[in-house]
């Protein structure tokens, strides 16, 4: 293992980027764009769901519950006529009618008439009303993670987007770079020099680790400046997670590149990288809520561990003393995929 040769490969990657402005832009602009699009589209949550309240209760208890509902999520209008209000739900202009009968304070039962044909809207109504009802009841709530008690959907989403963007863009760029190395003959040319397969792979890893650290910092800066996301824990630990995620992703890119003869074939692998990462690594759907048979697959995806580690650091405020198991798993993936990448390159000499 020779450090000068390894660094020569790393240096070559940065020199290439200096001349190839389009790829440089892809590396820096595309992840930020992904962050902005996902953040605005999914992070803001459901808002302004039209709901009608018909309140025949004169005691003031129902009025207090209505006042306690989140008026950002629900766009509440009043009505005196229950049948007209329910007709509005049937014709699609309202999502739900909340009816408080006369004497509600004694019977303590209200009625919700709801359109469930759009789950996103009906779920927002149900969760907001049940939260409002709870706040009217004398339950004291305390928080396991005090600093994250007001965590928004965006706060939860941002770690997912960081891991997703780093994984997808790093895998993609390494895959294309390596298929390019094979098809142009430069890989063959490298391999007749004294450089070893391990030095080539580690040289690439170092370059992509540094690039990922830059990408991760950029993404985090956007998340803090644009979305004001919570950063409770040590940011350097988050950076370590990002770098390990990138090393995993680039080694996977090299391994996969062996299966493609041309760049056009490499493009065909993109859906197989994007969809599992997007759907199974816990960005939108919690890993725990995946079907039993599918869950093991999510645990063999490095971003699953990266997202959990990033959430633990950024939201729970955990340091390395608590997230080391996830870091160890990411490191384990890095070691395994690096060996596979080196082995794959050596094997092609046969």
């Amino acid at each position: 293992m020779n450090l000068d040769r390894t660094l020569a490969i790393t240096r070559k990657q940065f020199q290439t980027l200096r001349h190839d402005k389009r790829t440089l832009a892809l590396m820096l602009v595309a992840p930020v764009m992904a962050m902005l699009i996902f953040g605005f589209a999914f992070g803001s949550g459901t808002k302004h769901v039209p709901v009608v309240v018909v309140n025949n209760d004169t005691s003031g208890v129902a009025a207090k519950i209505v006042a306690g509902l989140d008026h950002d999520i629900l766009n509440i209008s009043g009505s005196n006529d229950l049948s007209v209000a329910q007709q509005d739900v049937r014709n699609g202009s309202k999502v739900a009618t909340l009816y408080f009968p006369a004497g509600f304070s004694t019977v303590n039962r209200a009625q919700l008439y709801i359109d469930t044909t759009n789950q996103q809207l009906s779920a927002a109504v149900l969760s907001t009303i049940s939260a409002g009802a709870k706040s009217a009841s004398p339950i004291d709530i305390s928080y396991a993670f005090e600093k994250a008690k007001n965590a928004s959907a965006t706060d939860t989403l941002v770690p997912g987007i960081i891991a997703f963007a780093i994984t997808v863009f790093t895998t993609l760029l390494t895959l294309l770079a390596f298929v390019g190395e094979r098809t142009s003959g430069t890989l063959a040319r490298l391999r007749v020099t004294p450089v070893t397969e391990a030095e080539i792979v580690l040289g690439y890893e170092l370059a992509f680790g540094i690039i990922a650290a830059i990408q991760g910092s950029l993404l985090l800066a956007v998340a803090i400046l644009v979305y004001h996301v919570l950063v409770v824990g040590p940011i350097l630990v988050a950076a370590l997670v990002v770098i390990l995620t990138a090393i995993d992703a680039q080694a996977i890119g090299i391994v996969v590149s062996a299966a493609a003869r041309r760049e056009s074939q490499a493009i065909q692998f993109i859906p197989f990288i994007i969809f599992p990462t997007f759907l199974l690594s816990g960005i939108f759907v919690a890993v725990q809520s995946l079907p039993d048979w599918l869950r093991p697959l999510s645990y063999v995806l490095p971003p699953t561990w990266a997202i959990q580690a990033l959430r633990d650091v950024l939201l729970r405020g955990w340091g390395i003393e608590r997230v080391w198991p996830q870091l160890l798993v990411l490191l384990g993936f890095a070691v395994v995929f690096t060996f596979l990448a080196i082995f794959g390159l050596k094997r092609s000499r046969v």
């Binding site: 000068d4 240096r11 142009s184 007749v192 070893t196 000499r349």
Partner: protein, 240 residues
């Protein structure tokens, strides 16, 4: 001791037998030409020689080493058929990268690169990105990379394709100078006038040597007047 030795070498890709008992030797300091039709096995033989692939059967030895031995790599210069350069790097950056990989130290590297740039007539293009160069210029850069480490054995796969006649003559003068300095050179070519400049020529077809000797021997043994006619005669004889 031979610089290159192939002994009954077979190499197959799936069902296609690219080399079929290939045997030949190249002596140290010799300029050896490997010529043959497309698909005859020239490039496969070269891949085995520079350690990019392994033989299925038989022995290949280069400068007394197995071609896979890391020790032999800094002793062999290789110019592949394709350009095989980093298109987004400049001429200088390409040479500098390979110079670093060959372990040439900083000051020596700069001097060697400038010397080679002058030789391939690209000093004014040192800071130009490869993708902006003509095919001939790219080829010249590729030759400069192969010469970087002052190799003991130079393996050139069709080095003068796309090179203008003046530069082609300069290339051959340089090969002759290198040979005088003791470098062994193996070259594949389609140009018969280039084959004539070789000390010995091996005619390869269907993965084996069908005739071998000095150009004069090949012509006289085949009762022809030119090397091209000799080549066609041997290829035809082998077919029948």
């Amino acid at each position: 001791m031979n610089a290159i030795s192939f002994a009954r070498v077979d190499k197959s890709y799936d069902t296609f037998k690219a080399l079929d008992g290939l045997s030949f030797n190249v002596a140290k300091g010799e300029l050896y030409g490997l010529i043959g039709p497309n698909g005859a096995g020239k490039s496969t033989a070269i891949k085995l020689m520079v350690g990019l692939q392994k033989a299925n059967v038989g022995e290949v030895s280069v400068l007394g080493f197995s071609p896979q031995d890391p020790e032999v790599r800094s002793l062999v210069g290789y110019m592949p058929q394709e350009t095989a350069l980093y298109l987004d790097l400049t001429v200088y950056e390409n040479l500098d990268l390979f110079g670093r990989l060959y372990g040439i130290n900083k000051s020596e590297r700069a001097a060697r690169i400038n010397e080679l740039l002058e030789f391939v007539n690209l000093s004014d293009w040192a800071k130009t990105v490869i993708t902006n160069l003509s095919g001939g210029m790219q080829h010249r850069t590729s030759l400069a990379v192969a010469l970087l480490a002052k190799p003991k054995l130079l393996v050139l796969d069709e080095p003068t394709v796309g090179v203008d006649p003046e530069l082609r003559a300069a290339f051959w003068q340089h090969f002759a100078d290198m040979q005088n300095d003791g470098t062994t050179i193996l070259i594949t070519t389609h140009y018969m006038d280039e084959a004539l400049r070789c000390d010995r020529v091996g005619l390869i077809n269907h993965g084996k040597i069908v005739a071998e000797g000095t150009p004069a021997e090949l012509i006289s043994n085949s009762h022809t007047k030119t090397l091209e006619e000799a080549f066609l005669a041997y290829a035809g004889r082998e077919k029948s």
